[in-house]
Symmetry: C2
Subunit: 248 residues, 2 copies
């Protein structure tokens, strides 16, 4: 049973970066690392925001790609605490700031268009009247749209994103239609898509989406599929590249 | 130079089905055959419509999957003529009807919700003031949105489709955002997507889309990628399955 026990893990493949986890909270997930890997950081980017950063796997991973300041926002105090300590553990406190805040009110705290790149690995599951919500409140908030739904997430990303800035997210394939409709509504042109297949021969489960603020629609690139596993269950070379089992 | 010369071809792999082409018109394309392969025909389907059927590769191919009546609609007289003769050549005149008509006025000819399955391989390219349109009018109409644009195509499909009926199309990946926004607007829930990669290692170019009329959004299936060629330029087993070079 989960007991609140903490442990320190290598952040999925990058030798040197460590992340602190607790067994009763969501672990950093493959989704977050795939998203961080998918993100490109144009030179013009000055400020980066992670909406719902959890224990900060994305900011930590992105610190390997850029030296620009990254702000991670998280509602849950326990996750904020883990995230802050992971930042300190990796000596990244000059680059990464973890803010305990509600995404829904962020526009009161930052000027509009303040960020040039916004990333998010949001809760995946919609809440219905009869949803079997997880008993642990933290897991529920991280996985279900209790604290924020996709529509509000898009609204807040739009408010905080500069013109030409990118909003990049990972989500379940079932939500793709909604994601594209919301992107379109907010003039966030869908520029890159990449689908994540758990295994060769199975349907895709996740989609990585890059949108650009106030850009013209069109010019969408559909990147190569990302396979986590080969048909025989072994990791693909690309997954190994990220996972980096063979550490130096 | 194209001379209007006709020739009879095997319809891409299916021994027995022949198609008549002319060297100054668009040949049946891989797109059409991939679309016909992608289409599923539920048992409840009673009437099938192909919007912009050209020389009828899709109706001909679908005749291998169903015995239900198929109507192909085509604006261009020369293509209509070829299509009708291909239907006769294959003795499918009791199943396939080719109608010379403008998609834009089809709702005056058929009751609304008349069809249970509508397929289309529409013109892919938008027309801009400075578009380098093809000199041959037929090619221009088949490839560019001169006679019909995507918005009108969706409007007409919606009018003619029964509740629960499927509208299935193939298009360029760049138009995916627009396709999903139009689907959403007309309450055509996107149910299946399949991306077509010309070759392993390259970005996808085409997308196959199945939508269902008045169905709830969600439950989208992202099928395995379709690769036309392996990285070394040889056809993939799946392409061979369709192409069926090794005829009986």
């Amino acid at each position: 049973l989960p007991s609140g026990q903490e442990s320190i893990h290598d952040l999925f493949g990058y030798d040197g970066i460590k992340i602190i986890q607790r067994d009763d909270l969501t672990s950093f997930s493959v989704d977050s690392v795939l998203l961080a890997d998918f993100v490109t950081i144009p030179k013009r980017v000055e400020r980066i925001l992670d909406l719902g950063c959890g224990n900060a796997p994305i900011p930590l991973y992105l610190s390997l790609k850029t030296k620009k300041p990254i702000i991670g926002v998280e509602l849950q105090k326990t996750a904020v605490d883990l995230a802050r300590r992971s930042v300190l553990l990796n000596h990244l406190e000059n680059q990464i700031t973890i803010l305990e805040a509600d995404i829904k009110t962020l526009h009161e705290r930052f000027d509009s268009s303040f960020f040039d790149l916004i990333v998010s690995n949001p809760p995946f599951f919609q809440v219905h009247a009869n949803s079997p919500l997880n008993n642990l409140e933290q897991l529920t908030i991280a996985r279900h749209e209790v604290a924020i739904d996709l529509e509000t997430l898009f609204l807040q990303a739009k408010r905080l994103l500069s013109t030409g800035g990118n909003f990049v997210l990972v989500h379940r394939v079932e939500r793709l239609e909604e994601i594209i409709v919301l992107s379109h509504r907010h003039h966030l042109a869908v520029k890159r898509l990449r689908f994540v297949y758990p295994k060769r021969g199975l349907d895709a489960i996740l989609v990585l989406v890059e949108t650009r603020n106030n850009s013209r629609p069109g010019g969408l690139t559909l990147e190569e599929p990302f396979y986590v596993m080969e048909a025989d269950g072994t990791y693909t070379p690309e997954m190994k590249r990220i996972h980096f089992f063979g550490k130096k």
